[in-house]
């Protein structure tokens, strides 16, 4: 099959700027093939490369005695003490956005967002035990809001409930700035033995690279590129084939993966997220300082006549890539067959620093692997400090009861039961505090210790003063955990902002990170994982800056948790300044 010629239009359609294309030419010393262009665009888009945010993310505190693994892997890992048999345990958690896909197809977008974050957690060897979701929608009376709210909430529930993880918290907000860009941030946490965490770095030459899970289709081809582009009237045309979530397959993939890990067969493992096969293979090779050779003819596909380009960029869900101990291949295959999942050897690790992709007997890509991984441009985008907010007009006097009524009757402050009741909050049998007040709590199975979870941010504070707003989000998360009787452990962040190419937006980003960093340092809540979602703009108008903070705390003795058993005759105290 012949591939299209590389033209300036094709380059632009891949979200690559002319100077970025020049850089590609410099790296490989020749014109890239179509497949190679696709690979570069996937690796270099904002979503995978963090090219606008990296510089600032480095300033965040990520270490502490409790941290086993900070940012850089699929999820962060934090020590939480022993289980009933004395084995040290760890909590593995992360939060990730699926904003653009949810706006296009709310049910499937939210559902696959939930699926992706769960996969991040079990890829590291942890069984997911808790989920949260932080949602921002436009005005309740905006014509699109209703459909988005319904679809997103049902999609989150449809996936998490079927997968079997309790949803223990989250946020729902409505504000005009999200009219054209809803936000769907999904959090998941799992528990693993601290001595059996799995990482993505490959090791050993000549080892099989194995494809696990569901078959590859044309889903989302072009999706990773889309996450780096603003929406406008042509959105209909940009629509890639929508990814459909399959929680039933994901649940089996989780069980099979955990079972496989227990056999000792797994050398390294990586989930296939955005630009699945490309990013996962390159990352495994790069971290292990190895090359990878992929033979696409062996990739399980569900559609006919798929090209190398499509396979390399497909975002089909519920898939993983793994480097296997060759001595255990038969055992590993048996586990996957037990769960009726695909298991295919699709390549091997090689000594040369190359990423070689073969399809139909032809080499479709042959790129320097480590350079491909590390060469993504990094920008120090111009930014300007956010001007002080306008002085608010004095608040008119109101009868306190009326004011309270309008607050609790308002979309942003009314009870969240209508959302929470659509989520299974109790599956796994260890939910101790359900969503409703502050954060949720689960019992660490078989112990009398618990984990508390919360997700918080107040975008209008961040808009008014990014530094203070960033601090406030962390402080609120901290308070929510403490209010459950938990000792805050660590944080994950989901940084949702507008177009970083605008200095004002970049200024919000820089300011919020400064505030978040300061607060996390002061409160000893290092950031162990996170996700950045930029370009949340429609027709040039961006969302309020929304850096969602997810945090996890440890309760040493659940009998002494703060349980909200309020009864008559107790004394109310107001603490703080």
């Amino acid at each position: 099959m012949t591939e299209p010629a590389i033209t300036p239009d094709l380059i632009a359609a891949h979200g690559l700027k002319p100077e970025e294309y020049e850089r590609i030419l410099g790296i490989i010393g020749r014109e890239p093939s179509f497949t190679e262009l696709g690979i570069f665009s996937a690796m270099w888009n904002e979503h995978c490369s963090y090219k606008s945010s990296k510089k600032w993310l480095r300033t965040l505190p990520t270490e502490g005695p409790q941290v086993i693994c900070g940012p850089g892997e699929n999820a962060g890992v934090v020590a939480i003490g022993p289980d009933a048999d004395g084995h040290e345990l760890a909590v593995v958690f992360k939060m990730e956005s699926h904003n653009h896909p949810s706006y296009i197809e709310p049910y499937q977008g939210a559902s696959t967002g939930m699926g992706g974050i769960l996969r991040d957690v079990f890829t590291m060897g942890a069984r997911p035990v808790a989920a949260m979701n932080a949602l921002s929608f436009g005005r309740p009376d905006h014509p699109k809001t209703r459909q988005l709210v319904h679809g997103v909430v049902e999609g989150i529930g449809g996936y998490a409930n079927a997968f079997g993880v309790p949803t223990l918290g989250g946020e729902v907000r409505f504000h005009a700035s999200y009219d054209g860009n809803c936000l769907v941030n999904a959090f998941a946490a799992g528990i693993a033995r601290a001595d059996s965490i799995f990482y993505s770095a490959a090791s050993g030459v000549g080892r099989p690279v194995v494809y696990l899970g569901a078959k590859t289709g044309r889903d989302g081809v072009g999706g990773a590129t889309m996450a780096s582009a603003e929406f406008d009237d042509t959105i209909e045309d940009k629509r890639p084939t929508v990814q459909v979530g399959d929680p039933f397959t994901e649940k089996r993939l989780m069980e099979a993966t955990l079972e496989l890990m227990a056999t000792g067969a797994v050398v390294s493992i990586q989930d296939m997220g955005a630009a699945g096969l490309t990013c996962s293979a390159v990352e495994m090779g790069d971290k292990g300082k190895l090359g990878i050779r992929l033979d696409l003819d062996a990739v399980p596909v569900r559609e006919t006549a798929m090209t190398a380009y499509e396979m390399m960029l497909s975002e089909s869900q519920e898939r993983m890539l793994m480097v296997l101990d060759p001595a255990k291949e038969a055992e590993a295959r048996a586990v996957f067959e037990k769960w009726d999942l695909d298991f295919a050897v699709v390549g091997e690790t090689i000594a040369e620093d190359r990423f070689v992709v073969v399809h139909g007997g032809e080499v479709r890509a042959d790129l320097p692997l480590s350079t491909l991984a590390s060469s993504a441009p990094e920008y120090d985008r111009p930014w300007e400090e956010t001007p002080p907010p306008a002085i608010l007009a004095p608040i008119p006097a109101a009868d306190p009861i009326d004011a309270l009524r309008s607050l609790i009757g308002s979309p942003n402050y009314c009870a969240r039961d209508w959302v929470v009741q659509q989520y299974d909050t109790q599956v796994m049998g260890d939910s101790v505090a359900l969503p409703g007040l502050d954060g949720g709590v689960i019992r660490i199975h078989g112990t009398n210790r618990g984990l508390a979870f919360t997700a918080d941010v107040t975008p209008r504070y961040v808009a008014a003063n990014p530094v203070e707003g960033g601090k406030q989000a962390v402080a609120e998360a901290y308070r929510n955990l403490v209010a459950k009787g938990a000792r805050p452990l660590a944080t994950t962040d989901n940084l949702n902002f507008g177009n970083p190419e605008k200095p004002a937006i970049m200024g919000q980003f820089v300011g919020a990170l400064d505030g978040i960093g300061q607060a996390c340092r002061a409160l000893d809540m290092p950031i162990v994982s996170g996700n950045v979602s930029l370009y949340n703009e429609t027709d040039g108008s961006g969302i309020d800056p929304t850096p969602t903070i997810g945090a996890v705390g440890l309760i040493e003795d659940l009998d002494r948790r703060i349980a909200w058993d309020v009864s008559q005759g107790l004394i109310a105290l107001l603490l703080g300044e």
Binding site: F163, F248, Q421, Q422, D424, Q426, M428
Partner: protein, 222 residues
């Protein structure tokens, strides 16, 4: 006392159910859906809640045709006990071991919350530890709990005292507020609520524990 819990590929309340059975003193064996026999000496089979096959096609439909289904039916025919909460209830209806079917909730939404149930019938091992008419708090978590059966079947269920639990306020449109029903020999119980989620105080309530204890007592007495 031995319990077997069936594990379908998408089951997600299988472990929770095992914890509840163990809490009442049972030895628990997990049985994979591709098996065709149950281990020897099983007193009760638990058909767990969750999404046995992702709730694809119809809830419980594919599980009811899985290889283990034959052994489950044989166990019931021999007079063995079977307990199916939530998806377990849907599976038991799909196998025909219990009459009727479960449709999408009347409000179409998935509902997860704790509801009040009235114990309608104490003449069964599962309900013997409750008092007739007792109101208990048990969580529900389902999308398809809207029980339906033809009028004749409903009359029979009522007439034979086989409605084990009824919702105090029906959340899902179920016919006559039916939350759980017994088989003719009263040894198979299917119910939409999850008593295994109400067995220890940390879970927020313990009203479900009596169901497992009652069953254990019946087995000890036998």
């Amino acid at each position: 006392m031995k319990a077997a819990i069936l594990v379908f590929p998408g089951s997600n309340c299988d472990r929770d159910l095992a914890v509840a059975f163990r809490g009442a003193g049972f030895d628990v064996t997990m049985v994979w859906h591709k098996e065709t026999t149950l281990p020897d000496g099983i007193d009760v089979v638990g058909v767990p809640g969750g999404f046995s096959y992702g709730d694809y096609l119809r809830c419980g439909a594919i599980a009811a045709r899985s290889p283990i289904a034959g052994a489950l039916a044989d166990h019931a025919v021999r007079g063995g006990y079977v307990f199916g909460p939530c998806n377990g209830f849907q599976i038991l209806c799909e196998t025909g071991m219990l009459p009727g079917a479960l449709l999408r909730n009347a409000g179409l939404k998935y509902i997860c919350r704790t509801v009040a149930l009235r114990v309608e019938e104490t003449e069964s091992a599962f309900t013997a530890a409750y008092k007739q008419g007792q109101v208990i708090d048990i969580p529900i978590a389902h999308h398809d709990g809207n029980y339906t059966a033809d009028p004749e079947t409903l009359r029979r269920l009522e007439g034979e005292g086989r409605v084990a639990f009824r919702y105090v306020v029906t959340p899902n449109g179920a016919a006559d507020g039916i939350a759980g029903i017994l088989s003719e020999n009263r040894r198979v119980l299917g119910m939409m609520p999850h008593p295994e989620r109400a067995c220890d105080a940390m879970q927020g309530g313990t009203d479900g524990a009596a169901l497992f204890k009652g069953l254990a007592q019946a087995l000890v007495a036998a």
